[in-house]
């Protein structure tokens, strides 16, 4: 009886670990999706409302997932750091793949160049998100199967 309970506990903890890992992966996907949408919205704000970049960024601060990034940029800029420098500092801690995309944004004042960069940035992030989603889907299957097999193996060994 005790052995069975122990085996069940091992199985449940493996499943919980998997769940925790999946949730983190899901947050990463939501973040990158939100970021892509933010770049698209900024492009619209520049194109249709003629907003300046700091104003367009300030509008993105309310975003649930990536709002903090824009808050950090706006704060740095208000404290006297240049906008490109504030951006560089704010993206420093991000995932390397996301960072690589965001580094391509030069924040120069040429409207056409800026719009092109924002749109390309948003598209690349969406492509990255799609790729991550695929990878995570297959990883999930493998991880879940692995956790279940391990749990079952332990149960067999214990019982």
């Amino acid at each position: 009886m005790i052995k069975s309970v122990g085996a069940l506990l091992i199985l449940s903890s493996s499943l919980l670990l998997c769940r925790e890992r999946f949730s983190r992966q899901r947050q990463k996907l939501l973040y990158i999706e939100d970021l892509a949408q933010a770049l698209s919205d900024m492009a619209s704000a520049v194109r249709f409302s003629g907003l300046t970049l700091p104003d367009a960024m300030a509008q993105q601060q309310i975003r649930l997932w990536c709002g903090g990034l824009f808050t950090a940029v706006c704060q740095g800029y208000e404290q006297g750091t240049s906008l490109p420098e504030s951006w560089r500092e704010a993206i420093e801690g991000l995932d390397w793949e996301v960072k690589r995309v965001l580094q391509t944004l030069s924040w120069q004042g040429d409207r056409e160049k800026l719009l092109g960069e924002l749109q390309r940035g948003a598209e690349t992030l969406r492509e990255t998100e799609e790729r991550w989603r695929e990878v995570m889907r297959s990883q999930r299957k493998v991880q879940l199967a692995g956790a279940l097999s391990l749990g079952l193996l332990l149960m067999i060994l214990l019982i």
Binding site: L51, T52, S82, L83, W107, R111
Partner: protein, 306 residues
Amino acid sequence: MEQHSAVARFRQAAELLEGKWQRELRRLSEEQMARCEEIRLRAGRQMTVLLPEGEMAPDADSPVVTHQDLERLCDMLTAYSRYASADAMGRGYLQTKGGFRVGLCGTAVLREGSVANLRDISSASLRIGREVRGVAAPVLREMMDGDLLGGTLLLSGPGGGKTTLLRDMIRCLSDGLEGQKPMRVALADERGEIAAMYQGLPQLDVGAHTDVLDGCPKAMAIPMLLRSMNPQVLAMDEITETEDIRAIVSAANCGVTMLATIHAADVAELQRKPLFRRLLQAKVFTKAVVIQRREGRRHYLVEDLA
């Protein structure tokens, strides 16, 4: 007190520049800061400040301004969004927070025959516009016949203080001179130098009952303001074109009082210029205030034009 506020205004202007230029400007004495009219940066030259006696570098060892410095300045002034200021840059200046105006020179980008933008910025001139409160009240009292104010031209050479006097006149009329009712003033601030609008707010005091239309050519702004704001007084800076005069003459028929500035040392010079002779013949303006500078002080002479 006056020097204190002039120094504060200078420091506010200096804050628009990069740290290294701010450090250079700190080398000036407070007296020089108070008298400084412009800060000038030219590629390949030292930064200079324009004082009434002429231009000088804050320090003999001041660094030389580079093309990159000017491009960075332009980025900072436009909040890294030159596209949002392309129209103003095409006109050769940027209006900044605090009511400062930065004149720019560089290579003009032409589109359909007009200047659409500037690239390769080669020089910048940061003009430190200052409010001088109270300068207009005695002039207005001298000009007014009871509550009535006739159309008035403010005359002086460049840098004579026309805009400063006009701004204070607008403020006085809009808030109401002592014992008089406030008036509805409409301001056609084409070059943004009078009210210095920034995000919809005047950075310089133009009174509580003043409506400002900025960035719009006067010939278009005058009929717009007449239709939309029903003003008692219509004020504008720098009449220079035939279209301006045509719009002013039409507006005068609507019973509105005009206040305007013109580059001319005196009434005689005004009468010598064919463009302004036509304006005088239309009798829209009945008075002229001639600003003269003698012994470092400004004197305001009120003359009849009728």
